[in-house]
């Protein structure tokens, strides 16, 4: 176990605990950047999709993991991002490099607009409301046909930045690097949120709104900011998702997508950036794995599992149930426990991570 001696307050503020920690993440980045040189296009495509899901996951993680709000409607922000970026590009002729942040901001605006009147809602009520909004956004997309192409949907042309093509089918490596670069930027923003007052304000409204306001945290404003930042991330993910799918319509961004993002962060581990990425890996890897296994079983036993169309959803739900039952902190929580076990070997105790019961809470003040 490494011990860090601190001689100033900076190590507690820095992004990385120490040099070793920093080296690990630099190496990870280098490996990720080098992937296109030794993987084929199919896997690069899957990796790109993983990163896009991870961005969306980070978006919801800020809301659920950091601020303690719920949303079952994050597909609405994905849709806003995807439609905004394509409309800005095709109808206004904006270059992608401007259209992408603009799409994020439009989503963020929608998020804030939704948050302001709904800050009094908690838990299941907020979940139902966000669910309703995602259904509403689907309808609005169909109705706003001149802008959105209605039921037929839209086509996203190749991304071009300064003459370089980032097309999904022509230059998938470039698209991968672009998404990777954006992901790294957004991870840095997320880390900055965690180490500054805004992150502490998020955590305070998550844990106790009553004492958050006694600490001078404006609960309504903080919730609006949380929704805004969350939907900004998700909007960016949606913009990339649109370009990755190249063609999409209102059905692309349905309720299943919202639930997928939510499941992703639960499986990955609520409350950590790692969780968003681990969840995204599970989400993109699982269909690949299932189809691989399906072929394998078919060749070995000639049992055709193609005849069972719901098997993906089934396995996914099964994993979720297992996670909630046995490891509520998700994959990242399991990793933390394993790491602690080896760091403290042989002193690890089984109930080390068990939450203590919280003491009596102040009765509702309003």
């Amino acid at each position: 176990m490494r011990t860090i001696f601190k001689t100033s307050y900076d190590p507690d503020i820095n992004l990385f605990k120490d040099r070793f920690h920093r080296l690990c993440y630099v190496l990870l980045c280098v490996v990720l950047i080098l992937f296109p040189f030794f993987l084929n296009e199919y896997f690069i495509g899957e990796l790109t999709l993983t990163l896009i899901w991870a961005i969306a996951g980070m978006g919801l993680m800020i809301l659920v993991g950091q601020s303690g709000q719920v949303s079952l409607g994050h597909s609405a922000f994905m849709a806003t991002g995807a439609y905004s970026v394509v409309i800005l590009q095709s109808k206004l002729g904006l270059p992608f490099i401007l259209a992408l942040p603009a799409a994020g901001l439009i989503s963020a605006l929608l998020g804030v607009l939704i948050a302001l009147p709904t800050t009094r809602l908690h838990g299941i009520y907020l979940a139902i409301l966000t669910l309703a909004i995602s259904v509403l956004v689907e309808d609005i997309i169909v109705l706003a046909e001149p802008l959105t192409g209605g039921v037929n949907g839209m086509f996203a042309s190749d991304i071009v930045i300064f003459g370089i093509n980032f097309g999904r089918y022509s230059n998938i490596e470039n698209l991968y690097w672009l998404v990777l670069f954006t992901t790294i930027l957004l991870v840095l923003v997320y880390k900055n949120i965690l180490r500054t007052p805004i992150g502490r304000a998020f955590a305070s409204i998550r844990d106790s709104e009553v004492s958050a306001s006694a600490m001078g945290v404006n609960v309504v404003l903080t919730k609006a900011v949380a929704f805004g930042v969350s939907s900004f991330f998700t909007g960016i993910a949606g913009a990339f998702f649109g370009h990755f799918a190249t063609a999409f319509n209102y059905e692309t961004f349905n309720v299943i997508m919202s639930i997928t993002i939510l499941l992703m962060i639960v499986i990955g581990g609520v409350g950590s950036i790692h969780g968003a990425f681990l969840g995204a890996i599970v989400i993109t890897l699982l269909p690949v794995l299932i189809s691989f296994l399906r072929d394998f079983i078919f060749q070995g036993t000639s049992i055709n599992l193609m005849a069972l169309p719901g098997i993906e959803t089934g396995i996914f739900s099964l994993i979720l149930i297992l996670v909630i039952l046995f490891e509520p902190r998700g994959i990242y929580g399991a990793w933390l426990k394993t790491r602690t076990y080896f760091e403290l070997f042989p002193l690890y105790r089984k109930d080390m991570f068990r939450r203590q019961k919280s003491y009596l809470k102040t009765e509702r003040l309003r």
């Binding site: 307050y9 900076d10 507690d12 503020i13 840095l188 923003v189 900055n192 949120i193 180490r195 500054t196 007052p197 805004i198 992150g199 502490r200 304000a201 955590a203 305070s204 998550r206 844990d207 106790s208 009553v210 004492s211 958050a212 306001s213 006694a214 600490m215 001078g216 945290v217 404006n218 609960v219 900011v225 930042v229 409350g271 939450r355 203590q356 919280s358 003491y359 009596l360 809470k361 102040t362 003040l365 309003r366």
Partner: protein
């Protein structure tokens, strides 16, 4: 006068929780509110810290009315409070909890923080210095990086006091700071409250059932009985007051 309550009343339906209470807290004193259960002490606190709005009367803090303010405005004008049942942020460390107390004094907005401007780091270090002083004062060093959910009840009580102190208030509202503490912890608490007044120059208004603690630290004591402030004075005077004795023991 740091705080003046003028004819404060609050009704919950037909129940008069607080009835025409007028009270002055002097700059630099420790004022304790005592009274039997249900006398309206915590309600008074919630009115002062703006969680409840009084049906009548007004609250003057440093010559200005705070009737129109909301709870989160109070930290800016220098009023901090603790809660009777601990209201810490259980999933954060002690250090993070204390740092929240410094949130209201921040000069950066969330965009600067998300992009981590150089000034944000400087401000973080300044906040940390203030918080470390509080940690030193309350001997919380062993718990600095511990999660609240891993602490004992007594330590949590102290952390909550620390969180209020890290807001650098002028007026500190303590809602039953000694409830649930051991005799030893209560003795420590008495010293700390004295020092908060003497060294930090903070005015303290507290609600407390432990009359030993009240006797040790309080300059003046007010007794609330069924929403009425029946007596103000030293603890001895209060204990000799007929109405107070009747309220506690019955006639």
């Amino acid at each position: 006068m740091i705080l003046s309550l003028k004819n404060i009343s609050l009704n919950f339906g037909g129940i008069k929780a607080v009835d025409q209470v007028s009270l002055d807290v002097k700059e630099g004193e420790i004022f304790a509110l005592i009274g039997p259960n249900g006398a309206g002490k915590s309600t008074m606190f919630n009115i002062i810290s703006r969680y409840y709005t009084q049906s009548n009367g007004s609250i003057i803090y440093r010559n200005e009315s705070i009737d129109k303010l909301q709870p989160h405005h109070l930290s800016k004008i220098g009023v901090a409070r603790t809660f009777q049942n601990i209201e810490l942020f259980p999933n954060s460390t002690v250090l993070q909890n204390l740092l929240v107390g410094q949130n209201s004094s921040k000069s950066s907005n969330f965009l600067q923080e998300m992009l981590f401007f150089p000034s944000v780091r400087k401000a973080e270090i300044d906040r940390r210095i203030i918080v470390e002083e509080v940690i030193d004062f309350l001997n919380l060093q062993p718990f600095r990086d511990k999660q609240i959910s891993a602490l004992s009840y007594g330590t949590r009580k102290i952390v909550e006091l620390g969180r209020a102190l890290s807001m650098q208030p002028n007026l500190l509202l303590l809602d039953e700071p000694a409830s649930g503490l051991s005799a030893e912890e209560t003795t420590d608490l008495a010293f700390w409250i004295e020092d908060i007044k003497k060294i930090m120059g903070i005015t303290v208004l507290m609600v407390e059932h432990d009359l030993n603690l009240v006797g040790k630290v309080a300059d003046r004591v007010g007794a609330l009985v069924e929403g009425n402030l029946v007596a103000i004075g030293s603890l001895k005077e209060i204990q000799a007051n007929r109405k107070v004795v009747e309220a506690y023991i019955g006639t």
